[in-house]
Assembly symmetry: C2
Homo-oligomer: 262 residues x 2
C-alpha cells in the first residue's frame, strides 16, 4: 500500500432484520436504536440486493428520518460470483465500491437478512476494506446461526457452520455422516442451512442418515411470529416424521439445522 | 415423558450487551426495544452470575420499568460444572430451575454478555427445556462471534468456533496447526477466544505458528467505544508485533481471534 494517511471514511456493517419471508414487525422493535440512527445517517450503500435494501431503508426512515432522500443515495449491489465458478472479483471492483470511504465518507454494507458477510455475501468487500486501510465498524445485530444455536440447547462452546450441503443425494448423505463423526469426536455442533422449499426434504434426510441417539434440532423464522425451534434425538424425529407433512417448520421461512453426536 | 399437556411457561433466551469490561452505553441503544420489553416482564430468572444479572436488570428498569421490584424476583445461578471434570448436572437440578415454566410462568435465561448458551453457559438448561416440552423463545441480540466474523472479512459461509485453545504451549501450537490445515482443506474460518489478559500472548503465538500467507484477524470490544477489528496476513502481523506492546487490542476487552488459510 502506498497510502500515507489512512482513509477517514469507514465501512459500516449494518444488521438487517431476520424477518425475511415472515410478517414484518416494527423495525425499532427488532434492531437497537443506536444501529438504526447510525444507518439513517449513511449516504452510500453497498448491498446484497437493491430491492430489499430500499425496503429496509424505507422502514428505517419510518423510525429515524434518513439523512437524505433514498433517491439521492448511492446504492450499489455486490458483484455476484457464480457459485462454484471459482471466479474472483477483481481488486478494482472492490476499490470502486469503497470509493466514498477512500474519499472520506462512510459506506454502509447491508445484506438481505441478518449480518452481512455471515452466511451471506459481503466478505470480499470487508476484506478489501482491511487491505485498503478503511476502518470496519460493526453495528450490533443478530445472526440466525447463533440464535439457532442458543435455542437448540446443543453445544455452544464448539460448533461449525457448513453452509449448504451438496445437492446430490449420495454426496449429501456422505457429508452428513462425515460431519456426524466429527461432531462425536470433537463434541462439535454442526450447523447447515437450506433453501426454504427444501426444508422438509433436508429434515427427512438428516433423520434417516444420523444415528438414532444424535440430537437434531431445527430452528425456523426465529424472532418472527410463527418461528420456533424443536430439538430432540433422531429416534424421536423418525417417529414424528413417519407421516408426510409432519415437519414443524414451514417451507417459506428460512431454517437452520443443527446436530450433535454425543 | 408422561406429561399429557405441554407446559405453558416458556424459557426466554435474553441477550445481554457486549460491553462487559467496556464503558457501558445506554441499554436502549444496544438492544432492540422488543427484547427489553419482554425482559422487563419476566419474574423468574436463571443466570450465569447473579451480580451481573442484577446490574443488567437495573439497566433494563431505567428504560422499561420492571414488572416487579428486583428483590421480589427469583434469580437463580446456573450450576457450575468444573471444567474438564466430566461432571454431569442431574436432571432434577434442571427441572427445579425450570419449575416456574412447568407451572406456567416464563423464565428468562441470561448470561454475562451476548447470547446465553453461545460461548457461554446455559445449553444444559435449554436442552432440559426441550426434553420437558417447555417452549424455547429467543430474543434478537448479537453474539461477539458472528459480529467478529462479519468484521474480519474472512469466510462467513463456512466457519468453526473452537472455544479456548489448550493452555500448554506445545498442545496449543499443535492444535493451531491442525486447525490451520483444516481451514486450508475446507476453506473454513477458525475462531477462538481467550481470557482478555492473555490476548496479546495468544496473538503472538498465532502469528508465530500460522503460515505467513494465512489471514489472521482479531476483533475486540465490538460495538463498544475503543473496540475494533484488524485483519491482515500473518506476515504483516509478524512485522507489526516485532516489538512488544504493539498489539492493537487491550488486555481488558474480550477478543475473538480468527484465521483463514487460503
Amino acid at each position: 500500500m502506498n497510502t500515507v494517511t489512512r482513509p477517514t471514511g469507514r465501512l459500516v456493517l449494518v444488521p438487517n432484520t431476520l424477518d425475511l419471508g415472515a410478517q414484518p414487525q416494527p423495525l425499532d422493535e427488532l434492531l437497537p436504536s443506536a444501529a438504526l440512527r447510525r444507518a439513517a445517517g449513511l449516504r452510500h450503500w453497498v448491498v446484497e440486493s437493491a430491492k430489499v435494501a430500499r425496503g429496509f431503508l424505507k422502514r428505517v426512515d419510518g423510525v429515524t428520518p434518513l439523512v437524505k432522500p433514498l433517491q439521492q443515495m448511492t446504492l450499489q449491489e455486490l458483484p455476484r460470483a457464480r457459485k462454484g465458478s471459482g471466479e474472483q472479483v477483481g481488486a478494482a471492483v472492490w476499490e470502486s465500491l469503497l470509493a466514498p470511504a477512500l474519499a472520506g465518507q462512510d459506506v454502509g454494507l447491508l445484506s438481505d437478512a441478518g449480518l452481512p458477510a455471515v452466511a451471506d455475501p459481503g466478505a470480499g468487500l470487508v476484506a478489501a476494506a482491511h487491505r485498503l486501510g478503511v476502518a470496519v465498524e460493526v453495528l450490533c445485530g443478530g445472526s440466525s446461526l447463533t440464535l439457532a444455536l442458543a435455542a437448540s440447547g446443543l453445544n455452544g462452546q464448539r460448533f461449525a457452520f457448513e453452509g449448504y450441503l451438496p445437492q446430490a443425494t449420495a454426496e449429501r448423505d456422505a457429508r452428513v455422516r462425515e460431519l456426524e463423526q466429527r461432531s462425536r469426536r470433537e463434541h462439535q455442533t454442526q450447523l447447515v442451512i437450506e433453501t426454504p422449499y427444501r426444508n422438509e426434504a433436508l429434515l427427512q434426510a438428516l433423520a434417516r442418515q444420523l444415528h438414532p441417539e444424535t440430537r437434531l434440532a431445527v430452528a425456523w423464522g426465529l424472532t418472527s411470529p410463527g418461528g420456533g425451534c424443536r430439538s430432540q434425538p433422531v429416534a424421536a424425529w423418525r417417529r414424528e416424521l413417519s407421516a408426510p407433512g409432519r415437519a414443524p417448520m414451514t417451507d417459506t421461512l428460512p431454517a437452520v439445522f443443527l446436530w450433535l453426536a454425543d
